[in-house]
């Protein structure tokens, strides 16, 4: 084009229109369906998969490890060591979901006959489902499961190279995954696990963890029970003990029961650790919601009416004041997607149309605007009156 030519040119619109039509005219008539970027997204996040139990083994006297493979075989989706999976358990007319940290390593999921494992201790954590897994589940049983959820994993652009994991009881599972991945050479960090147990003859995954001990993986068992002959560390995971195993720059990952979190908050505070170096796993469903600050005790024995709107359809079901909305829905067999069951991930985002709920203050991971419009994460919301909610159709 001649410089300044456009000043007199009035044919531009026709020209670009012709160019457009010409481009279409000369284009291929064959449909192109490939969406490789979408395919990678789907390989990482395929949604719920049909999984079959292929192996069950003792993880301790009181815990079992269950191995799952994809029905029909093949690779399982990639995930990060430390993440959890969500398993669905149909129980009578109820449909109950639970998150379990994956105790196997990501590289094991990516083999041709890939697998993931969870390790579940009897009568710990969420009670009856744990017992159900220990007592009733057998090889060949199938489940629906969502693999690779949660934010509890090593992030090289955020975390220190030296990691001290503070594990209590069955809270060892995400660290077992990390240790396996480090030992395999596919996760670049130095991992020291301070693993608190009560007694030396009931340590979940002990034999398997001890086998992973190596240049970059160290497991330090810390016993709180009274065992005079125990040669190793004793007592609780105190500030002093934590300091002993720390490097100058260390990231701390913490997973265990709620009571351990309260204790460790105090101990870690003594160590003057920058906030960015401490990562707590979410602690799951509150054991006893009435213990949390601000819980309206007058409600605690009530059972309310919960009206559940899905599309044009409405159900009315009972909901106990001390159980989350998710539990009420699951009892009634009304499907709801859940993830962390700790108020964090938002899978169970729900609109409260009327009535009031108590939100567990330690489990409030909602967006600001959601709070303004009455949205709750149903796993962390407890009815304090008759309530009407709208949830997605599952």
């Amino acid at each position: 084009m001649k410089v300044k030519g456009f000043i007199k040119d009035v044919g531009g619109a026709s020209r670009v229109t012709k160019a457009r039509l010409n481009a279409f005219e000369t284009a291929s008539p064959l449909p192109v369906r490939e969406d490789p970027i979408g395919n990678v997204a789907r390989e990482w996040h395929p949604g719920k998969l049909d999984l079959v139990v292929t192996e069950i083994r003792e993880a301790s006297k009181t815990a079992k490890t269950l191995r799952f493979e994809k029905v029909g075989g093949g690779k399982l989706p990639p995930f990060y060591a430390g993440q959890f999976m969500v398993l669905d358990f149909p129980m009578g007319k109820s449909l109950i979901s639970r998150p379990y940290s994956i105790s196997s390593a990501p590289w094991q999921a990516r083999q041709d006959k890939g697998f993931v494992e969870i390790t579940v201790r009897r009568s710990k954590g969420d009670g009856f489902i744990c017992d159900h897994i220990n007592d009733n589940v057998k090889v060949g049983d199938t489940f629906r499961g969502l693999i690779g959820c949660g934010q509890f994993y090593y992030e090289p652009l955020r975390d220190a190279k030296h990691v001290v994991a503070l594990a209590g009881g069955v809270g060892i599972t995400p660290f077992a995954s990390m240790a396996r991945e480090v030992a395999n050479g596919t996760l670049d960090m130095d991992l020291t696990i301070l693993y608190g147990s009560v007694s030396s003859n009931d340590i979940t995954l002990k034999a398997e963890l001890d086998k992973l001990e190596g240049e970059h993986v160290h497991v330090v068992h810390v016993l709180s029970g009274d065992e005079p002959d125990w040669p190793g560390e004793r007592g609780f995971l105190t500030a002093e003990l934590i300091r002993k195993y720390s490097a100058p720059d260390t990231t701390y990952f913490i997973c265990g029961p709620q009571v351990m979190y309260r204790f460790l908050h105090g101990e870690l505070a003594k160590l003057d650790i920058p906030r960015r170096r401490i990562r707590f796993e979410v602690f799951g469903q509150a054991k006893d919601i009435t213990q949390f600050p601000g819980y309206p005790m007058a409600c605690k024995d009530e059972t309310y009416q919960l009206t559940v709107v899905r599309g044009l359809h409405e159900d009315v079901i009972p909901a106990k004041a001390t159980e989350s909305l998710v539990v009420a829905l699951e009892r009634a067999g009304i499907g709801i997607e859940t993830g962390c069951r700790s108020g964090e991930c938002g899978f169970c985002r729900t609109k409260v149309l009327s009535g009031s709920v108590y939100i567990c203050p330690e489990n409030d991971g909602r967006r600001g605007a959601d709070k303004d419009f009455g949205y709750v994460h149903a796993c962390a919301a407890y009815p304090t009156s008759d309530v009407k909610i709208k949830i997605p159709i599952v």
Binding site: V3, A13, E43
Partner: protein
């Protein structure tokens, strides 16, 4: 169980900004509308998420078409008229340009902007102001013509600048101003928001971009773009629109050449007179229409004849110090080792290193964006899909971290502060992240590239011939106005208008 009505006037596939705008517009005219959204919240990428107790903006840098309270622009007017009351915060500057030999912060307002360019590159005021005025004039024409189409002679009379520049690329028009290189560099940074190199970017698009961003400034909602998306969804429901989340539409059902409903992944078949779809025409015409034979050959040729534009890669950091202590001084920083847009566009084909970075520190637009003592800082590259298409699932995490590290290292070097020593939270968003949450074709957020072969003026001219299936309209970045959250609203309203126009025509 009946979750749905037997029939709707319109089904809107996708509850992001375009879909919600379409639904609002239709509900405002009394239509019975169902919105089906695959995610469990509205907005698509116009959303936020919470990490470590801190809410984080997912995508919005600056929203165009809002305007000040006393000078509302088209999207601002739309929201105001419907009573969608968003707490808009004005973005304090246009941008800080960090380019070879230039460290200049520029502000909106044509006069101020031109003065500031002149201060950095003396002697350019008159030319830059003339160029900005041309942009403003063309932009005004685009706005008016999109509402009141007119005949060619009329157009030439009233919108001469628009008509005369329509056939030229941004480079061709800028060349006529004979500006020194540094001034050209200073007025170029926003190009990435429309995503084509200047030799192929229609000047019309550049004019709209500068006319709006420099002319009227930009805005962000106080509670992140989720505030906007949610308030739109809430208003739509209040107006009688049914919105169902977690509903993935697999098929658009076509009978006698007309869309007549959809089928969802869970198997619901829902009937409607019209369907407005946010999925890319590429996906719709190649795998969503049932029966597949209802897709004419021209539709396939059309999508094959267009170029998919940019996707997004962002590293979002929550840092454990206030911004000023980390030498972060601006809301928006465009940093480049060159401002040759054609060269950068070429580089965006690959997987890095990327040399043109777009950074946002939300705290300067919204002091409450993060808790006291912390700040939010994001670094974004808007790559083409080509390179990312070659990444496999097993390579994905390595590539993602490699690119993220390059971006953080580059900006750390610039600030003289190692940002990696301050990371409270890090989120890396990739084209795959976009694909995962929104289902967008190849994770593309920009729709089709604005090019001289796919010119907005031509898009308007050939619009009617490109309706390959009756009663099916599209909304989203792949439509006439292209990418961006402001244009998404415009695209959605356009789809609704097309439906309303067809309804009126067929009623006669």
């Amino acid at each position: 169980m009946n979750f749905y009505k037997d029939h709707y006037d319109v089904i809107v596939v996708g509850g992001a900004l375009a879909g919600l705008s379409a639904a609002l517009q239709l509900a405002d005219k009394g239509k019975d509308v169902l919105v089906l959204e695959r995610h469990n919240l509205p907005g698509g990428v116009a959303t936020s998420f919470v990490r470590g107790g801190i809410e984080i903006e997912a995508a919005l840098h600056e929203m165009m078409y809002i305007g000040a309270k006393d000078n509302r622009q088209k999207v601002g007017v739309f929201f105001d008229q419907l009573g969608i009351d968003i707490d808009w915060l004005r973005v304090p500057e246009a941008y800080h340009a960090s380019l070879p030999g230039l460290e200049v912060t520029l502000h909106p307002g044509m006069e101020q902007f031109s003065r500031e360019v002149d201060a950095a590159v003396p002697g350019t005021y008159e030319k830059v102001k003339r160029l900005m005025d041309l942009c403003a004039t063309v932009y005004d024409s685009v706005n008016e013509l999109s509402i009141h189409p007119m005949s060619k002679p009329q157009m030439l009379l009233k919108h001469a600048a628009f008509v005369k520049t329509a056939g030229y690329s941004t480079k061709e028009v800028l060349d006529t101003f004979d500006l020194p290189q540094k001034a050209l560099d200073l007025i170029a940074p926003y190009w990435i928001y429309v995503g084509s190199g200047f030799s192929d970017l229609p000047f019309t698009i550049y004019a709209v971009l500068m006319g709006e961003y420099i002319g009227n400034g930009s805005y962000i909602p106080r509670k992140f773009s989720h505030e906007m998306s949610l308030k739109m969804a809430e208003k739509a429901e209040e107006m009688g629109v049914q919105i169902e989340y977690r509903q993935h539409v697999d098929k658009i059902l076509v009978k006698d050449g007309q869309a007549c409903g959809v089928r969802t992944a869970r198997g619901d078949e829902i009937s409607a007179d019209y369907v407005i779809c946010s999925a890319y025409p590429n996906k719709v015409y190649t795998s969503m229409i049932e029966p597949a034979e209802a897709v004419p050959a021209g539709a396939i040729k059309m999508v094959n004849g267009r170029r998919i534009s940019l996707t997004a890669f962002s590293v979002i950091l929550i840092l454990d110090k206030p911004a000023e202590e980390l030498n972060i001084k601006d809301y928006s920083i465009f940093r480049g080792t060159t401002m040759d847009t054609d060269k950068i566009y070429d580089e965006l084909k690959g997987l890095g290193p990327y040399s043109y970075l777009t950074c946002i520190c939300h705290n300067y637009g919204n002091p409450d964006a993060t808790p006291e003592g912390t700040c939010s800082f994001s670094i974004t590259v808007l790559p083409r899909v080509d390179g990312w298409k070659t990444v496999t699932a097993d390579e994905y995490d390595r590539v993602k971290h490699q690119v993220a590290k390059q971006l953080i290292d580059d900006m750390s070097a610039y600030f003289g502060v190692n940002l990696l020593d301050h990371v409270l939270e890090i989120v890396i968003e990739t084209p795959m992240t976009v694909a995962h949450y929104t289902g967008m074709w190849n994770g593309c957020i920009y729709g089709y590239a604005h090019t001289m072969e796919d010119h907005i003026v031509a898009r308007l001219q050939t619009e009617e011939e490109e309706k390959f299936i009756g009663h099916l309209e599209f909304s989203g970045a792949h439509q006439i106005s292209g990418d961006g959250m402001g244009p998404a609203v415009v695209n959605g309203r356009k789809a609704a208008k097309n439906v309303l126009d067809t309804m009126a025509k067929e009623a006669q």
